[in-house]
Symmetry: C2
Subunit: 210 residues, 2 copies
């Protein structure tokens, strides 16, 4: 166990980490919002297993906020290391001024679950979502959404049909920085797993640190 050191109080602030930074793709139904757009959201999380649901929080002032309110649909596109720069860009530029798909060299693709809404063809995984409710919390509105369908790039599947998530090369966001996911520390249940399961599923431990 790590040493116990004193705590310093920082005040009330958002410090949950790491969080996902995802590309949310959307399109409104009325001008000027009826065009494909992207917004980066780090205030996102899974909120329910059954039915599968997630949340994203978006400021009312965002161009995408009106798009989400009009259509009630969006995709959450997971972010690979290759998409990290585009993800940052889509978090600091507005769809009012820029065609972000074009500016980032990304391809909007239509998938069956939400035929009117663009997904990101380059994303390793896209989650089709339908808005369930919108709640005003303060700076951000909380969109709770049902996950209707999950699309996974074919290249992520292993020989037995399993998803080899490492191939997605996902990023995390932590205290203002994008970070690659590093080495595997364990699998769900490893703390109580049998020696056989550990031998089968745990990678050999590296000599030092991460």
């Amino acid at each position: 166990m790590p040493d116990i050191t004193p705590f310093r109080a920082l005040g009330a602030t958002t410090m949950l980490a790491p969080v996902p930074a995802v590309l949310v793709s959307c399109r409104g139904t009325q001008p000027p919002y009826d065009r494909d757009n992207l917004i980066t959201v780090a205030w996102a999380g899974t909120v329910c297993s059954d039915p599968p649901m997630l949340s994203i929080s978006v400021r009312k002032s965002r161009f995408s906020h009106a798009q989400l309110m009009q259509s009630g649909c969006f995709y959450v596109n997971l972010v690979s290391q290759e998409l990290c720069r585009a993800t940052d860009f889509c978090g600091v530029r507005s769809g009012r001024d820029v065609d972000k798909f074009a500016a980032c060299g990304l391809t909007p693709v239509r998938l069956d679950a939400l035929p009117e809404t663009p997904a990101v063809a380059q994303a390793p995984i896209c989650l089709a979502c339908r808005v369930h409710s919108v709640q005003e919390l303060g700076s951000h509105d909380l969109f709770l959404a049902r996950i209707l369908q999950v699309y996974v790039q074919e290249r992520l599947f292993g020989e037995k049909g399993e998803i080899v998530m490492e191939r997605a090369r996902l990023c995390a966001y932590s205290h203002g920085e994008y970070r690659a996911l590093g080495r595997m520390l364990g699998f769900f249940g490893y703390s109580v797993a049998s020696p056989e399961a550990l031998a089968r599923r745990m990678p050999p431990r590296p000599r030092n640190g991460r």
Copy 2:
């Protein structure tokens, strides 16, 4: 940009990744719930910047669910690599049967923000939270909470009073696996930053991969 490959539809499922896996510490007010307890939550996220708020989702059947309903308070304790095994354990065992603090060798500590509620002394960062609302979604209840105070271990502070998050050695949870956070890919705004800012803040690029 990565190659575009076809997508395969998986069905409706929870696939947002990476997500945080955090240790939530809590204590009820009435027997048998009036004892210090820990629960691991991966369905967690920041939901608002101002006021600072986060969400955790917990099944009604959990021992901790009743504790949270009674007290309306909890800590979100961020998880370092050193706490990863304890975090897994606290996700597969119930506080009905086990004193999880003792079983994991963790120390409950009282901090000013929530004097009745234990925080984890070994956690790099602890967020004191007060429940704002509880919503039934299905398998999980969604607890929205105000972040009242953030406690950061002294050892995480750099010379200029900044938080050196790397020292927290945080973990992420992705598709059933705990992963260390790896190399820094960029900082918020790096896609539009000046060459001077990039030179100052970006680490030298490694020769290969992650």
